[in-house]
């Protein structure tokens, strides 16, 4: 037996709902049935004053339907059959009230209206004093039974709501624990990544200060290494600041119409030297006629393109890096294609995730915080574009593309 039915039998028991009550109610049935319509009219006459009425009642036609339901319910009180079908039907009424969000207090108050009406009718209609007394008792019991079952429905709904809230809290808690774990790991890796360039900076300066160099050239060489390590450290710190801003929702992007050519030229000239030193080709295959103005933050856009082209050069030891920008009506689409080391498919999505990247062996070999792509993705998306990376796998090059929205002149027609 389910808990609803167990509860039903318990309530009947507590109410001392007896064979005598059943017989009495059955006996009252024929007398009350003609008055049920009157009861429904009386009941719904009070509805306009009901503060929650607007929730439940949409108009006169609906009130007529509800009056009929109330009469069916009223007839049920005198059916003489108070078994499990009766319980199911009564629970159902309760659940309906819960579903339409009628407050429990109005159900109790409605039941009081019905109760008064029925007691008045008993006084009017039942002449036999003994039967009249028993009728008052039995009608109270059956109304109490109904009221209890309806309140059970409310209780079950509250319990369900609390269970749901609990589950959501538990899920949230789990997420917080995971995110705290991720942040601790991030902190550990960050500390690791900061110590590496710091080692070079402090170490090389120490070697010079200790007078361990034999020539002036050697000193200059070490200082140059220290300087580069310091620049590397600066780029890590900048990336960390960007990530902190993103996390706090405070990374500002100032959009305005932007010409792409100067930005592309700057990026190409910044990365060309690096490409040349590595003996790879850096090709710009963008045609100026393909370049409308875009809506973007020029500094942030430059940061993104430097990051992406810089990565391509960094991770390509042989071959070429091609940069290409083309537009359709809505977007300029940048493609950066390289013949470099590529990346395994399983790891491609991870690249864009914050907190995942610092400390891959690749970043150690190639420099950088490894946070650049996560930052670029955030910047591109904030500027209204999208970014995607594709690689067939390790050793097979990488194809990265991203979009930036084309700027539209505000239309003149009014």
């Amino acid at each position: 037996m389910n808990t609803e039915m167990v509860t039903f039998y318990e309530i009947k028991n507590y109410l001392h709902f007896s064979e005598l009550d059943i017989d009495t109610l059955k006996q009252l049935g024929p007398m009350f049935r003609p008055h049920l319509k009157e009861m429904a009219d009386r009941f719904y006459a009070e509805i306009p004053d009901h503060p929650d009425a607007y929730k439940v009642f949409s108009g006169p036609a609906q009130i007529e339907r509800l009056k009929e339901s109330l009469q069916v319910w009223g007839a049920g009180l005198f059916s003489g059959d108070y078994g499990e079908d009766y319980a199911r039907q009564r629970y159902q009424i309760g659940y309906t009230h819960v579903r339409i969000q009628l407050a429990q207090k109005y159900v109790i108050s409605a039941m009081a209206v019905v109760r008064e009406f029925l007691h008045e009718k008993i006084n009017e209609q039942v002449d036999d004093a003994l039967l009249r007394m028993q009728a008052h008792i039995s009608i109270d019991k059956v109304l109490d039974l109904d009221l209890n079952l309806m309140c059970e429905a409310y209780f079950a709904a509250s319990l369900q709501a609390l269970t749901d809230i609990n589950r959501r809290l538990e899920e949230m808690n789990q997420k917080l624990r995971e995110s705290s774990q991720v942040k601790s790991e991030f902190l550990a890796r960050t500390s690791h990544e900061l110590r590496t360039p710091l080692s070079s900076i402090l170490g090389f300066i120490r070697l010079v200060l200790d007078g361990l160099c034999e020539t002036r050239e050697e000193e200059m060489d070490l200082l140059n290494d220290a300087f580069q390590a310091a620049e590397h450290l600066l780029s890590i710190v900048n990336d960390l600041l960007d990530v902190a801003r993103i996390e706090a929702g405070k990374l500002q992007v100032q959009g305005r119409p932007v010409d792409l050519r100067p930005i592309l030229d700057q990026v190409i000239s910044l990365t060309a030297l690096q490409a040349q030193q590595k003996g790879i080709k850096l090709l710009d295959e963008t045609h100026d006629k393909d370049l409308p103005r875009v809506w973007a933050d020029p500094e942030r856009l430059k940061q993104v393109i430097i990051n992406i082209v810089g990565n391509a050069v960094k991770f390509t030891d042989y071959g070429y890096v091609t940069v290409r920008a083309r537009s359709d009506d809505s977007f300029v689409r940048f493609e950066v294609i390289d013949t470099g080391i590529g990346i395994e498919r399983e790891r491609q999505r991870e690249l864009f995730e914050k907190f995942k990247q610092v400390d891959s062996s690749l970043t150690r070999r190639h420099g950088g915080s490894g946070l650049g792509l996560a930052i670029s993705k955030h910047l591109i998306e904030t500027m209204g574009g999208a970014i995607e990376l594709y690689s067939e796998g390790l050793g097979r090059g990488t194809h990265l593309h991203f979009t930036v929205p084309v700027w539209r002149e505000p239309s003149d027609d009014k």
Binding site: H192, L198, S199, L202, G203, L207, D210, D225
Partner: protein, 136 residues
């Protein structure tokens, strides 16, 4: 002249160790990430101490990527190289890393990056070599 083997993947840090150990300590310095070479050098007693980094990008052993902790274990488990002084120098610097790493590697000592005091580094290596030699 004592020889120190440095196992480290960062070329700049390698450059620092080489200069500090050669010029401040008068050591001979060998560097490699090749695990077979490391094992051979340690077994043949051609090196007197090993400086070992934990995160290595190029070290492979039997076809698998391997880190400094595993390399230290290989050296310790082989009787021919079990006695070689190992100094772990790593940028892993969170709480508990020191104990965890010494326990896992069986290293003689552990230093945290950044390492830049050349005299201390040389003194530490000398101390490890000496204390190993004094053992019965």
């Amino acid at each position: 002249m004592k020889t120190v083997l440095v196992v480290e993947d960062n070329p700049l840090i390698l450059k620092f160790y080489r200069m500090a150990l050669e010029r401040q300590g008068g050591f001979r310095v060998r560097t490699t990430e090749n695990v077979n070479e490391i094992v051979t050098l340690a077994r043949s007693k051609s090196v007197d101490a090993v400086i070992l980094d934990i995160s290595l990008s190029n070290a492979e052993y039997q076809g698998k990527k391997i880190d400094g902790i595993q390399i230290a274990r290989i050296l310790r488990e082989d009787p021919a190289s079990a006695d070689i002084p190992i100094l772990v120098i790593t940028a892993h610097a969170m709480e508990g890393d020191r104990e965890r790493i010494i326990l896992a590697t069986g290293a003689d000592d552990y230093l945290q990056k950044p390492i830049y005091d050349t005299q201390k580094l040389v003194a530490k290596i000398n101390e490890l070599i000496r204390s190993r030699n004094e053992q019965p």
